[in-house]
Symmetry: C4
Subunit: 270 residues, 4 copies
C-alpha cells in the first residue's frame, strides 16, 4: 500500500483558471481536483522538466486511474509538446484492455487547441506494455542524461548493475508468481541486493521499441525499469507516486554510478 | 504547425502591476496579455537566467510576431541589462524589412527609465539575419557554458557533430528548396541523422559576427543554430516556442557531448 | 545562542488549508504556527529534496522542541514517504527520556491517512542517540551524493578529514567536559583546524547502525556528524537551525572535497 | 550609468507583513519600499543562497545607498546568520566616512530579536575598504566553490587570469587617474583583454584580510574583485546591480575556468 499524498499540489494545476473556462462545466469540475490524473501529469511534467529529464518536448508520462472509479482508464500526455506547459485537457483518455479512445484534446474548443492536431505520445505502446504485463499504475519516460551516460559508459553491456548503495532499498523486490502468472511485489530490495536494469537498443521510431521492451520485461521479472541505449529510461510503479519514487531513486543511482565510474569505483561490490 | 502554449505564464509577466501604471493606457492594455511577445521575452529571459544561459547581462532574445496581426513586427530585448529583470516596456519594436523603429523604451516616462538610455541588443543584426535568411519567428542567443566548452574541446573544428542520441529527433530536418530559394522544414531529424552545427570564430564586437553568421547560415542550410567559439550560441525557430524547444534540445546535446568527450565516448557513431 | 529565524516560512507549511480541516480544532490551531516543529520538518524536507538529499523517500529529520514549553518533546518524520510532500499531522510525537508515544499520524482521521499505516522513520534510534548522548535539538539524515562519494573515494579510511577551507569555521568546536560528562560547545572551528568526521560501515537495516553510530559519537567528542559508508550522513545541532547550518556547511565541504580529490588537491594541508 | 531595475522584486522582501508589525511605523514605512537597500540585501542573499554561494551562514553583502538622499549611508548584513532568511530590520546602518553606527538590529523590539545579540558581518572592514578606496556602491562576498577551486588549482599563483571568453566583456575597464588619484571606469573590458583578479592568502580571522585586500586593491587598479585562497571572493561595483552583474560574470568565468583546466584548455590564449 502506498502512502497518501497529502501535499497541496502546485497551484497552477489545480485552479479552474481563465484558460479552462472554454471547457464544458463537467470538464472544469473534473479538473478542479488537484489529484486528478490529468492534473498530476501536468504537475509531474513540470517537476521532471526542472530536473532536465523532459527538456525540449522529450520524455512523457501516463497514469492509470488505479485509485479512481474505473482503474481501466489511462491518461496519456500528448506527443511533441512542451511537457512542462501541458494542461489537463491536453491528455488523451483511453480505456483498457482494448485502448478504446474515450477523450481526445482534439475535441476541445478551438479556442484552446488553436487547431493544433494532437497525437498521443509515441510512447503509448510502451506505456500499455507496462500496464498489461505488469499491472502498473503509472509509467514515466525520461531522457535523463545519467540514464543516457550509463548506457554509453557500458556500451557493450546488456544490463546495468549496482549494489551496496543505501538508496537501492527504495526499489521494490519483485517475484514471478507461477500460480498467478504475474510479477508480484514481495517487499523492498535489500542493501546487499544487486539492482539490475536491462538495457535495450534504441530504434529510429519510439513505437518500434515495443517488442524489445516487452522482451526485457519478460526476461527481467525483477525489474521496474528498462534503460534505452542513447535515449533514456522507462520506469513504472503500482501507483503514480510509487512510479515517481522509483524513478527518483533509480536516477539518483544512475547519477551516482556515473560519478563512481569516473572515479574508478566498481559499481558492484564482490 | 506548432502546439499551442496554453500554460498560465509566470504571473510576474502578466500583471498590469504598479510599475506599469506610468505607461499609457494603450500600452498597459497591450502588456496585459501574457502571450504578448514583449511578455514572452521577459518570461523566457527569466527561464534562461535560471539555466545560467544569460547571467550577468549576457545573451539575448528577439521575437517576431508571427501569430499577430503584423508578422513583420519584431521585438528586441535591450543591450546591457539584467535579462531576468527586464519588463515588457523595455523592448525595442521594429518593422521588417527595413527595420523601421516603431517604439523605443527611451520614449517611456522617465519615472520608469530613470533617464537610462537604452540601446537595442548588440545581437540585433544577427537576429535580423535569422529573420530575413530563414524566415525565423524568434531567435535566442545564450552564453551557455556547454556551448562554449564544446567550441573549446574541438578548437580546431569548424563544426560540431553528434549522432545516435534520441534527443536529436527534437530538431527540424531542413532542406533548401531550389524553386523558392528558401530553406524549408520537411520534418524532424531522425535518430540516425548526424546533427551538424557550424562554429564561427568570435569577434571583438558582436555585430561583427554578422558576416560569418550569414555565411554559416548559407553554407549550412540544414542548421537551426550557429555556435560562436568562446562565446555561446544562436538558435532560431519558426515560432518562439519552436526556438525555445530547439535551444533546449541543442543545449541538452551540448551538455551530453561534453560528458561523452570527457568519458572518451565518440560523439558520432560510425 | 542561536540567531532567530524571522523569515516568513514557506506559505505551504503555515496555512490552515483545506487539507487540514479534517483535523481537530486544537491540531489546526497548533499547526497554524509556521515555526511549529512539525511545520519546520515539512519546510526543511522540501528544501532538502530540492538539494537532491532526500529524493525517493530517502533521508529523514527529527526536531526536539528545545524552544517550546517541553523540550523533551520530539517530532519524527514518518518512514517511507515522499519527504518533500509530508504534512505536519504526519509526524510522530514522542517524549524523552523513555520515548513515550504521545501522538501518531495513525490517529488522524482516515480522510487524511487514507488508511495508510504510518511507521516512524527507521532512523529513530539514531536520532534518539543524538538527543541523549549530545543533547541535540535536531538531527538531519540525508543521502547526499557528496557524502556517499566521499565514503567511496576513501573506502579504506575510518574518517573524513579536511582542513584550511574557510567554510570549516561554520562548524562548532566541541569539547568533552570531564566534570559534567557532557560534550560542550566552546566556540567555532578555526580556519586552520582539521574537520574530522567519522565514517561507519552501513548495515542492511538502518536501526542496526545504532551501535556503531553511538560508538562513533563516543570516540569523536568533537564531531557534529557521522558519515555512513555507501549510504549518507547524520548531522545534528543544538537547534533545528544550527543543525541545518551545520549540514549545509558540511555538505559544501564534502562537495568541495570530491572536486579537490578529482583535481589531485590534498584535503588536508600539512 | 546603470540600467534601472524595474522588475517586481520578490514579494517576500517587500511586504509589510506580520513579522514587521512590531517595528515602529517609520521603519515599517521605510521597509515597504522593495528597492530599499535593506530589502535588496534580503533579496540578493536569497538569490546567492540558491547559487550555493552563501550556504551555512557563509558570505555577506553590503550596500551603500548611492541612489538615496545620503550616499554615505551603508547597510551591512549581520554576522553568523542564515543569509537567505534575513529580514530588513536585521541590518546595521553606518555612516561614512567615520562609520558612525546609526541603527542596529539590537535596538529592535525583543519580540523580533528574541534577545539574540547581533554583530555586523566580519567582512565589514573589507566592505569599507571597497567603499573608501574605490567609491563602490555595493560589495558582495561569497564562498563560491568555483572561486575556491580556482585558488586551489593555481595554488602557487598570486593572480587568476583568463582571456578570450565573451563573458569578460561584462566587466568594467578601470583606469587609475593620476589627477584625481582615483580609479575610474573608462568602459568595458574587450573580448581580447585578459581579466586579472588578484589572489590573497586567507587568514584565521576575516578582519585580518583587510591589509592584504587593500594592498591588492592598490596593486591591481584594474580589478573589481579579489579572490581569497581557500575561502571565496570579494566583488564590488558602482551600484548594487553592477556589483551583482560583475559577481555573476566573474563566477561564470571561474566556473568555466575550472572546466577548461580539467579539460586541459589553457585559460589565457597567447
Amino acid at each position: 500500500m502506498s502512502a497518501p499524498c497529502n501535499c497541496k499540489h502546485a497551484e497552477a494545476t489545480t485552479a479552474v483558471d481563465g484558460s479552462l473556462q472554454a471547457l464544458s462545466p463537467e470538464l472544469q469540475k473534473e479538473f478542479s481536483d488537484p489529484s486528478h490524473p490529468a492534473n498530476l501529469i501536468c504537475e509531474l511534467c513540470r517537476l521532471f522538466y526542472d530536473n532536465n529529464w523532459v527538456t525540449g518536448t522529450g520524455g512523457g508520462i501516463s497514469i492509470r486511474d488505479v485509485d479512481g472509479a474505473d482503474p481501466n482508464l489511462v491518461y496519456i500526455a500528448p506527443s511533441g509538446v512542451q511537457k512542462e506547459r501541458i494542461r489537463p485537457w491536453e491528455m488523451f483518455l483511453v480505456e483498457l484492455p482494448d485502448e478504446k479512445l474515450l477523450r481526445s484534446p482534439n475535441d476541445v474548443p478551438e479556442e484552446l487547441t488553436k487547431k493544433y492536431k494532437y497525437k498521443p505520445s509515441a510512447c503509448t505502446p510502451l506505456f500499455m506494455s507496462c500496464y498489461t504485463m505488469r499491472d502498473a499504475g503509472a509509467c514515466i519516460h525520461t531522457h535523463s542524461q545519467s540514464a543516457v551516460m550509463v548506457t554509453l559508459l557500458f556500451e557493450n553491456q546488456k544490463q546495468f548493475e549496482i549494489s551496496h548503495i543505501e538508496q537501492i532499498k527504495a526499489l521494490p523486490k519483485l517475484k514471478y508468481n507461477e500460480d498467478s502468472g504475474k510479477v508480484e511485489k514481495i517487499g523492498s530490495l535489500d542493501y546487499f541486493d544487486t539492482l539490475v536494469i536491462p538495457i535495450i537498443e534504441n530504434t529510429p521510431h519510439e513505437e518500434d521499441l515495443t517488442d524489445s521492451l516487452q522482451e526485457a520485461i519478460r526476461n527481467y521479472p525483477g525489474t521496474s525499469a528498462v534503460l534505452v541505449r542513447r535515449h533514456g529510461i522507462y520506469v513504472w510503479g503500482e501507483t503514480v507516486w510509487k512510479a515517481k519514487v522509483y524513478n527518483e531513486a533509480i536516477d539518483y543511482l544512475l547519477e551516482l554510478a556515473v560519478k563512481m565510474h569516473q572515479a574508478g569505483v566498481p559499481l558492484v561490490r564482490s
